[in-house]
Point group: C2
Chain length 472, copies 2
């Protein structure tokens, strides 16, 4: 996932938001009425049917196996590449092989930022190679690189204590303490702009992560208006600490930064797979993940897992001949990592039908063991979802956390008033691997993926089938 | 640390060996006698003196701060390099600055294996860069590299199921399940030899580690007699799994391996710092760590921590004016990583005085929170150490584990019958960072290092001062 200005704070929100507690349950009972609550509880048979099929039946380990084949075959799938387009074709064929043909692709223009050679060398106080990953959309350095002294700051406030003269011609290293991703990532997304405004020739950021084995983490950043675009990159926690220790001891640190990249735009596609509703086919319950990834690792976790549990929903329902009243649409978003580009295009293109989106779901914060949902919506909407989640106590996935901007892509739709949810999962180590070469299949677990698939499918089915719409 | 044939199994031993339990305590009481046990218990004041000085007094965070300055200044210190020799000079000066002048260096010939460019590229089934670290003493490939198909095995037994024809001209990838370091490392140390014996043109090994963020782990290996020396390297857990998945699906995997290195010998030095005993200066209690490191990371954990807690022992005793009866010798071993070269030279040079070594200690398996000691020696020797360890209950460092081959360097001396011990510490994550670029100061913790320093110093002092020698 990326974090846009819009969706930036979902991780924090999850942490601070409250679970639905017994008091709320009573409120929900009054709001929903006993009959409706009983109706929802009546989906226990369907739930068992789906859980059994995925956890012990024919679909067991299918999500993991298909995801592994997919990410092994294509590897990283950055926005704008042929690889991404081929991977979209592959997913379409994989779906057709299941006898599902109601597949639409919608073209849109996407950015293509292509990483070239990247090399950071500490020249003083001693020569050392510094592991590095340039940030998305970063400009290149001149061929000989940028050589300059480093100023280390731990916050924008500390940067502001320096005069422009102090920063002019320097490299700024942001070395913030990692609190939460949502809070700390601002040094990655806005660091270059703020450093450039004070005359810096380049900026570096301590990777936005709580743990490292000398692992740099890439990610998006955006240049502000009216400032010089300076080269910008992430270095590892270890090297950031090393440079800070030198700096704090009063030793001058000089780096040479060489970074080369190209920028272009290409055509890519959002992919929509419809599993048509029997009574209200115009009404949509959307499940989704993004198919593009960063250019490091395999994008197995970000967001291969979310992609595949969403792919599995119509596949499993068709195999089990379960036909909900509303249509379930599985969307594979494109170009999420460089700014939710696919989601914005979808929102614009489908604005007229916005009222038909009953509920929208995305998994883009890991597919570790599911714990429940992070839900946006009014009180009644959350009450309905809470009742649905009660059906998943046996797999420990009954937690509802309130989150006004869940997901990444879907936040674009949710801000228009559509209720929705992202997968709430046991993702404490998500940011250890996020946007690194370590985002490979090893992060995924067969059984946890099965749990995610079963949960995602059953929840989507129930919401698409119950007698009442999710209210706005 | 490395693991030689000699010292290979200390990690396993620690895991399977038993703590000294109450039954043993009674046995010890009979062996040692109440008077001697009371004498040892009487060192509680000295213990408090040392613990206070390090944990809350003037030495607080000194170990961490000095270690950080040292590893930041020199970085990696591979055997045979000028950097290693300069780092030895630095440690001597740091000791002299404390007013300690009884310092001897002993020259010896050490190997210098210098890593050059290393690059592994998967060519089939798709092009992918494979992160790699060549293994110590590996020969180079031809300039164009070695290009061959991969055969994946998880054990030597599985390799043996292939005919020489199957392996001839291939690259063997060892992909063993990590059980313990001592058990699994054999695929790193002997893999090339066994693959070459069957006609392989190169061998790769899954990094000897239980966890990874796409981190390759280097380490030593030795070519056997009478087989072709083939290039050999470690790849990451993630890439090993990727290649195995392709292989298991029946897809042909072709790699190009380019590795270049040089091999030479140089002169290096063991460093001996003597803090003279008042009554039996000829008798030695040795504390030690190795000063050389691998060429990746900073060697902060392997073995900067062990080096500095051993450096601290005479320094603290001098500062506190504590004078034990026997001499405490702090040794900084050289060239441990390429085969305990410094230790073997010391053992040979000092063989005549072997009988004077009362007890020998090394810390080379991490300086995380100390838990006690892993002790080699006869029953009575272990009983004495167990009584000493009872003094460290307040810092949770009273555990004695029986280990017939503790430490790395000191195993060379211990096998001659000298009793000794290595630091038993909370090192569950040691092999996450071991021999990687991640072996930097971030692995170390100020307070845990203080605990290690205080424990190491007090234990050494007490053993050097008690009325009885440690029996053989």
């Amino acid at each position: 996932m990326i974090v846009s200005l819009l969706a930036a704070f979902s991780v924090i929100t999850v942490i601070v938001s409250a679970k639905v507690v017994p008091k709320d349950s009573e409120e929900c009972r009054i709001l929903l009425g006993d009959a409706f609550i009983e109706e929802i509880a009546g989906y226990s048979e369907v739930r068992d049917n789906i859980l059994n099929y995925v956890l012990v039946g024919d679909f067991k380990t299918k999500t993991y196996d298909e995801l592994a084949k997919f990410v092994d075959k294509f590897g990283a799938r950055p926005s704008g590449t042929d690889t991404l387009e081929q991977s979209i074709d592959y997913m379409i064929q994989l779906t057709r092989d299941e006898g599902i043909d109601d597949i639409t692709t919608e073209e849109l223009e996407v950015p293509q930022w292509t990483r070239g050679q990247e090399e950071v060398t500490m020249l003083e106080p001693r020569v050392k190679n510094i592991a590095v990953l340039g940030l998305g959309r970063s400009v290149s350095t001149p061929p000989e690189g940028v050589t300059a002294e480093v100023v280390v700051v731990n916050s924008f406030a500390q940067l502001d204590t320096f005069s422009d003269n102090d920063i002019e011609g320097k490299i700024v290293l942001y070395d913030p303490v990692f609190t939460s991703y949502g809070e700390t990532v601002t040094y990655r997304t806005q660091g270059a702009t703020k450093a450039a405004a004070k005359g810096a020739v380049a900026s570096l950021v301590r990777s936005i992560a709580p743990f490292s084995i000398n692992s740099p983490h890439t990610g998006s950043q955006n240049y502000g208006e009216n400032v010089t675009k300076i080269p910008t990159a992430a270095i590892t926690l270890e090297d950031a600490d090393l440079i800070r220790r030198f700096y704090n001891r009063g030793e001058k640190v000089v780096l040479n930064i060489k970074m080369f990249s190209t920028y272009d735009t290409k055509i890519s596609r959002n992919t929509l797979i419809d599993y048509k509703g029997t009574e209200n086919p115009e009404k949509l319950v959307i499940v989704s993940g993004h198919i593009d990834s960063w250019d490091v690792g395999q994008g197995a976790m970000d967001d291969g897992g979310g992609l595949f549990i969403s792919w599995a929903v119509p596949v499993i329902l068709k195999r089990l001949n379960l036909k909900p009243k509303r249509t379930i649409r599985s969307i594979f978003w494109t170009a999420e990592e460089l700014g939710l580009v696919g989601a914005y295009a979808y929102e614009e293109k489908h604005r007229d039908e916005n009222h038909n989106i009953n509920f929208i779901m995305e998994s883009d914060e890991g597919t570790f063991a599911p714990l429940g949902l992070a839900v946006a919506g009014n009180k009644e909407a959350r009450c309905i979802v809470a009742e649905v989640l009660k059906l998943f106590k046996s797999i420990n996935a009954s937690t509802l956390v309130e989150d006004d901007s869940p997901g990444s892509d879907i936040a674009v739709i949710i801000k228009t008033g559509v209720p929705g949810a992202s997968l709430h999962n046991d993702n404490g180590k998500y940011f250890w691997f996020h946007h690194t070469e370590g985002d490979m299949m090893n992060v995924e677990d067969e059984h946890e993926l099965d749990l995610g698939t079963a949960f995602w499918t059953a929840v989507a089915y129930i919401i698409a089938d119950i007698s009442a719409d999710i209210p706005r």
